[in-house]
Symmetry: C2
Subunit: 447 residues, 2 copies
């Protein structure tokens, strides 16, 4: 069965219309989900633990008498880590070490307090402090990603967050003989929580977990920010509690854009396109390249490799539904199109990636050169893999240490400074009709 993978050329007359069709994606607002989530949140806010227990029994099939019984003790996290096969354990530790090292650089590069005094002795500055307590949502069930635990918890840990609370649903399996009343706990996820310094962990999920973290219950402490991916219910709940707590971005389907000059082995590029497509039927993989012959070679590799991939059905659906191979007039044009897309992952698969990097204005992460497969960045290069999707890289950033810090302005006006500033402030305050503002400044003037 040949693959119906779209091929476009910027020189074609219908390019713009075809390109718009490729790009088009919008998260449908599901009003039924929104209404259901609003109810669950209100219920958790009103009834606390009791509501959390009920929803966990109903949605996850996990019965417990108290929410305390749903807490995973730190010892169990450690035991999960100790119980891993040696290769997994050391891979997890190595990945955590590199992610931590990168985020420590991030802290040094912009996460410190600063201040200065101006000529009249007035001190101005910015105090940077960690959040007291944050919640990390980790999806359970089939899409359990321990790497996401590292990517959410480590920046919080590096920022110095006082308490990191993880929630992860552990839905009881309905299909197998090994159904555990506590639900299925993924040992790699628990081990990752241990390595990443998670302080407390609860086996709850869905909108009820988001509500418990946002409002607090008798057992679950209220946090100040909630990060981490989740399904439509989780996303809707996060959007709704935004303001009561901080949240990270609402993530859409994953995306990769490969900008190729034709010098990378084509099977590498094919596999990189697969590695996004295998996430999800809605994931998007796009190749931009000025070399038509090379595009043909990548297509041939895609067709050769696809049948051997365990997740070939998902990959095929994703490539056929949202993928595209785009022949451009030049690398410069490819960069311009990439800026219009603002992809989550952007591979510059070129022998001269630093020539193109300055032209790239919008992307979550930029992977330079043939050896930098997106998957290295996903797991262990160091930078965060939680990245802005659906074009939001135009205005938002990878998850980072800065997401777990907040800033306070510092101002200490000297007596001399108050004389100059007071006159300016009073003039403007009177102009705005705010007389108390003006007089507060004037009282500090020497008479």
């Amino acid at each position: 069965m040949t693959l119906a993978l779209r091929q476009l050329a910027t020189a074609a007359a219908d390019f713009e219309a075809e390109f718009q069709r490729v790009l088009h994606w919008s998260a449908e607002t599901d009003h039924a989900i929104e209404a259901r989530v609003a109810e669950i949140l209100a219920d958790v806010q009103a009834r606390g633990d009791a509501a959390v227990l009920e929803y966990t029994a109903r949605f996850d099939g996990v019965q417990a008498d108290t929410v305390a019984a749903l807490e995973i003790p730190r010892g169990e996290l450690e035991a999960a880590f100790e119980g891993l096969p040696e290769a997994q354990r050391s891979a997890l530790e190595a990945a955590a070490r590199r992610v931590r090292a990168y985020h420590e650089r991030q802290l040094e590069a912009g996460g410190r307090s600063w201040s200065y005094r101006d000529e009249d002795g007035t001190l101005l500055g910015q105090k940077v402090t960690p959040l007291d307590r944050v919640g990390i949502y980790v999806p359970g069930g089939k899409a359990a990603y321990p790497s996401s635990v590292l990517m959410n918890a480590i920046p919080a840990q590096v920022a110095g967050v006082g308490e990191i609370v993880m929630v992860v649903p552990t839905p009881a399996r309905k299909d197998g003989p090994s159904a555990d009343a506590r639900g299925e706990r993924n040992p790699l996820v628990l081990a990752a929580a241990f390595v990443a310094g998670v302080h407390r962990a609860f086996t709850i999920g869905g909108a009820q977990a988001v509500g418990a973290l946002a409002y607090g219950t008798a057992t679950i402490p209220a946090v100040h920010k909630i990060t981490g991916p989740g399904n439509a219910y989780v996303a809707s709940a996060k959007r709704r509690v935004f303001g009561t707590v901080g949240i990270d971005m609402i993530a859409g389907p994953s995306e990769i854009l490969v900008l190729a000059d034709g010098t990378t082995p084509p099977d590498w590029v094919a596999m990189d396109l697969f590695s996004q497509a295998e996430h999800d039927e809605l994931a998007q993989s796009i190749l931009l390249c000025p070399d038509a012959e090379y595009i043909g070679r990548v297509r041939a590799e895609i067709e050769r490799l696809l049948p051997g991939m365990p997740r070939r059905d998902v990959i095929r659906a994703s490539l056929e539904g949202r993928g595209a191979l785009i022949h451009t007039r030049s690398m410069e044009e490819a960069c311009a199109i990439s800026n219009r897309i603002a992809p989550e992952h952007l591979e510059v698969s070129s022998c001269d990636p630093h020539r193109w990097e300055p032209l790239l204005r919008h992307a979550g992460a930029i992977f330079l050169g043939a050896f930098t497969s997106e998957s290295l960045g996903d797991y262990c290069a160091g930078p965060n893999h939680v990245l802005p999707t659906s074009g939001t890289a135009r205005f938002s950033s990878p998850l980072g240490v800065y997401d777990f810090q907040k800033r306070s302005s510092l101002i200490e006006v000297s007596e001399a400074g108050a004389q100059t500033l007071g006159r300016i402030a009073a003039e403007l305050a009177y102009g705005e009709g705010l007389q108390a503002h003006a007089q507060a400044a004037e009282l500090r003037l020497k008479r």
Copy 2:
């Protein structure tokens, strides 16, 4: 008429209950407003300019044939500036200069790209770039604050934003004889837009302006982030377009907390409490002080000064409804209570403010020492006056240059690095069941 201003003491048995009553404030979700805003946004998205014109005529009483006619040409902004009285003009310029200087420090302190290479030659870094285009919402009518124009536009300008688009409604006055068909344009607001480097300005407001900025119309360019305060319709619209564009925080009523050791002239403190209270009946002014006698002196000054304030009715309503004078056991305890409140504005009105500052963990801006009235910070000290309210200083920050920038991770794995990282990534990817991720890493291994 005596002032019914609440007085609490932490040593009193009922303190906790009383304190909770003082703190309690929650933005009511008005479902009627939400539904109306959803309709307006959908209509603006579907019909563009035509919808904007209709709503502007209906809500602001401003008739125009085209949206282009609602644009304020740059020349008119400049003329407004040139037409100001000399004192206002130079105050505006001085304020802009100081605000710009502070935000330039902010850019230097954390707003630059960085990268490093690790031992195997792998490059890791973070590229920081300005947003291409942002929208600034400026309220019109009675609460028109030119200082807010400076505080929103200058950080965007310092960040290097390509195009700053301002919207400001100019509702036609219904009460006066001078009704202008174009509505009332506030010259100080237009002048501030000129000084702050606003590129384009439109006299539109409400949810329709937020929709026009978020989705773009034939005349109004789509922006990537919308900042600035507004009424309940504007706040609801911003919340709803969040994700399509970035937004700043949704602001609640303004707040000041004064932490006093009893060494500041009590009339200064009284006036500082007024300067928050005069904003709005829902604004909150709180004094924390371990000296009961001093609290009495501040109260006396409040009663003496109140009758002379032009906005005394608003001040009285605010102080009686949400204000409090709180007698604490110590300055340490006052700091702890301040952390529970996480105020927008925090004055440390003390002869030794640096002793207390390290104890203060959550606040939008911290004003140190008796000469640092909050109003100096509002207008011209330099730091931003757009600050987190309603306790959100626990997790969010003043508006800043960072709000107008975004970051992209940079990764360039060397051939040597790909050998180490590839094995780690493959191990973890197989653990997560993502075989294409694993194979993309393995293809880069030397055989």
